[in-house]
């Protein structure tokens, strides 16, 4: 029953494709504020969904988002003048995968706490290393990025990345890896004794997640025009992505999507009106989620949906 594609899945896919097609029309309608907001939302949807691909099933809170995002952006700054755009993207993906692999191999054999601590400082570590490298070897810290790419093109590429991320999430859920992850989530001891290489599964998943986030960083890089370590590796993005994914619910593929929309709007509002209070907002959001919506908004939605009268009737019917 988990192997054959069901009619509902085909319908969902068609709906998703149609939604992407409609959203792709945004730049035709507006190329100012709304396009900028669209770019922001699309980048967070891709990152939060990619984050939840790993952290949802494993329950390992990854704070490495800024490290992947920044590395992707830095690949662009390093190669912008010497390589065509597709090559740059491939290089960014490779750097993301390698970084995730190195972190995963060092920490994922151990408990989740080691992993959290490691990723907690990772962006700051890479920022220091890049700064040190640039000051001692290349001599200048900042770089200008000149890439011939329009805001609309960035937006379309981000939409494509969102589509890719959802497709990968869907494909994983249907694969051996997805099945293994459900077992690991339930009982890691049983997983190991049933023949699942738990560490390998986690590292592989972390690599997929890190690659996608590095790609988002690469696509977003031309938006910065000027890049330096403290911009590319700003640690706020790590925390924002965690909050959005948790607000929506990290256990469902569509969960983070539900969290990104309200949080991005709220964040834009707060950072525009009270720029000094974004930290306080983040903190309060974290506390509210932990205490009041631990399953995320998607969990509440599913619960509410199941309580609807027609769902109750259907459930009673299937039991009888």
């Amino acid at each position: 029953m988990i192997f054959s594609m069901q009619r509902r899945e085909v319908a969902t896919m068609a709906a998703a494709a149609a939604a992407l097609a409609v959203l792709a029309g945004l730049p035709l309608a507006d190329d100012g504020f709304w396009l900028a907001l669209g770019i922001s939302i699309a980048s967070y949807v891709a990152m939060a969904t990619a984050w939840a691909l790993f952290s949802g099933p494993t329950n390992y809170v990854s704070l490495a988002t800024a490290a992947f995002f920044g590395s992707g952006a830095y690949v662009v700054s390093a190669l912008a003048e010497s390589a065509p755009w597709p090559v740059i993207l491939i290089a960014a993906a490779a750097v993301g995968a390698l970084l995730a692999f190195a972190v995963g191999v060092a920490t994922l054999r151990l408990s989740g706490v080691h992993f959290v601590i490691f990723t907690f400082g990772l962006a700051e570590l890479i920022r220091q290393l890049v700064t040190w490298y640039q000051t001692t070897v290349t001599g200048s810290v900042g770089r200008y990025i000149f890439v011939e790419i329009s805001a609309a093109q960035i937006y379309w590429q981000l939409l494509a990345l969102c589509g890719l991320t959802f497709f990968i999430g869907w494909a994983i859920a249907r694969s051996r890896l997805g099945f293994a992850l459900r077992v690991i989530g339930d009982d890691e001891t049983v997983a190991a004794h049933s023949g699942i290489n738990t560490a390998q599964c986690k590292v592989l998943l972390f690599c997929i997640s890190g690659t996608l986030i590095a790609l988002v960083g690469a696509v977003m890089a031309p938006r910065f025009t000027y890049i330096e370590p403290s911009i590319a590796y700003g640690s706020m993005v790590s925390f924002q992505v965690v909050i959005m994914a948790l607000l929506g619910g990290a256990r469902r593929l569509w969960g983070p999507l539900v969290g990104v929309l309200p949080f991005t709007l709220l964040y834009e509002l707060i950072s525009g009106r009270f720029p000094n209070h974004t930290h306080l907002l983040l903190g309060i959001a974290f506390l509210l989620i932990v205490y009041f919506v631990p399953q995320g908004v998607s969990g509440l939605l599913v619960k509410a949906w199941n309580r609807m009268p027609w769902r109750r009737a259907a459930a009673a019917g299937s039991k009888a």
């Binding site: 907690f120 965690v242 306080l280 506390l287």
Partner: protein
């Protein structure tokens, strides 16, 4: 040169040890991985700064205000914010994930409040800044005094944990909360006490550091990182391990900063962390399972 490095790192290591002992109590006994520990430290530094500049209170006297205040505040945090999470958690993994997220919240709330109050500027004040000659080199008197206080507090804590009833209860809960409950130890109360004591130690470290370091409102994360790495290196819940690891970390940091590049101190601490993870994940003092 070597003498300077060793003495400087020893003097710095005293305050690091206090902050790491605080975190190891919170994580090892109360089972809360407190990611806002650096904010507690920076908060105490700001409190000392404020009391020194506004109320002209000597930093040594402010310790008597800041440390008990941190104890009470951390007790309240444990009692009202974290106890619901402890009750709700079905297993240790769930509590770990929940407490990480809740203390993230605290991290940002505390950082946000400090940013609102002091802005993003760097602060420092001058207290006991006269030079003292030691082994033919000069060191700040404030560093020496801070180290002496840290050493006294650390020794006091060690003796308290190993020779008092309350200390034994704390150690018992650290080893096995379930079994501790069976021998009539009030586990929630002991965990709350350990959390509060941990916060007080961290604040003490922060007040001492403020005597000779420059600090700002968003620096907490760096200290949290250092404290976490020290605790993992020393072995979770291990006081002696925390002290040794703190001194080791201060030594490596000072060496890298003075011999290679001050911009690479975090890289140096990470290197220590990676080596620990690869070769002694149970901590330098821990036994291999």
């Amino acid at each position: 040169m070597l003498t300077v490095i060793v003495v400087t790192s020893l003097l710095l290591g005293g305050a690091y040890a206090l902050m790491a002992m605080g975190l190891t109590l919170q994580y090892g006994v109360a089972r809360i991985l407190n990611l806002s520990t650096g904010e507690t430290l920076v908060g105490a530094a700001f409190a000392s700064f404020w009391l020194f500049t506004a109320a002209k209170l000597s930093p040594l006297l402010t310790l008597l205000v800041v440390v008990p205040a941190a104890f009470v505040l951390n007790w309240l945090i444990y009692r009202y914010l974290l106890t619901p999470l402890v009750r709700r958690a079905k297993n240790r993994g769930m509590l770990e994930a929940d407490s990480i997220l809740a203390t993230f919240g605290l991290l940002f709330v505390m950082q946000g409040l400090m940013l609102a109050g002091f802005g993003g500027n760097y602060y420092s004040y001058s207290y006991l800044a006269q030079p003292v000659t030691l082994f033919d080199h000069t060191f700040g008197l404030n560093r020496l005094v801070a180290f002496a206080i840290a050493a006294a507090v650390a020794l006091g804590l060690y003796l308290g944990l190993s020779h008092t009833r309350q200390g034994m209860a704390i150690r018992a809960v650290a080893v096995n909360p379930l079994a501790a409950g069976l021998v009539a130890i009030d586990v929630p109360r002991t965990a709350g006490f350990a959390f509060a004591l941990g916060g007080a130690l961290t604040a003490c470290g922060g007040s001492l550091l403020s005597m000779f370091l420059t600090f700002n409102a968003s620096m907490g994360v760096v200290f949290t990182m250092k404290a976490l790495i020290i605790v993992i290196m020393g072995g979770v819940g291990d006081i002696r391990g925390a002290v040794i690891a703190a001194l080791l970390l201060a030594l490596v940091e000072t060496m890298v900063a003075s011999l290679i590049d001050p911009g690479l101190t975090l890289a140096a601490t990470f290197l220590l962390f990676v080596l620990t993870l690869l070769f002694r994940p149970q901590g330098i003092m821990g036994k291999r399972a």
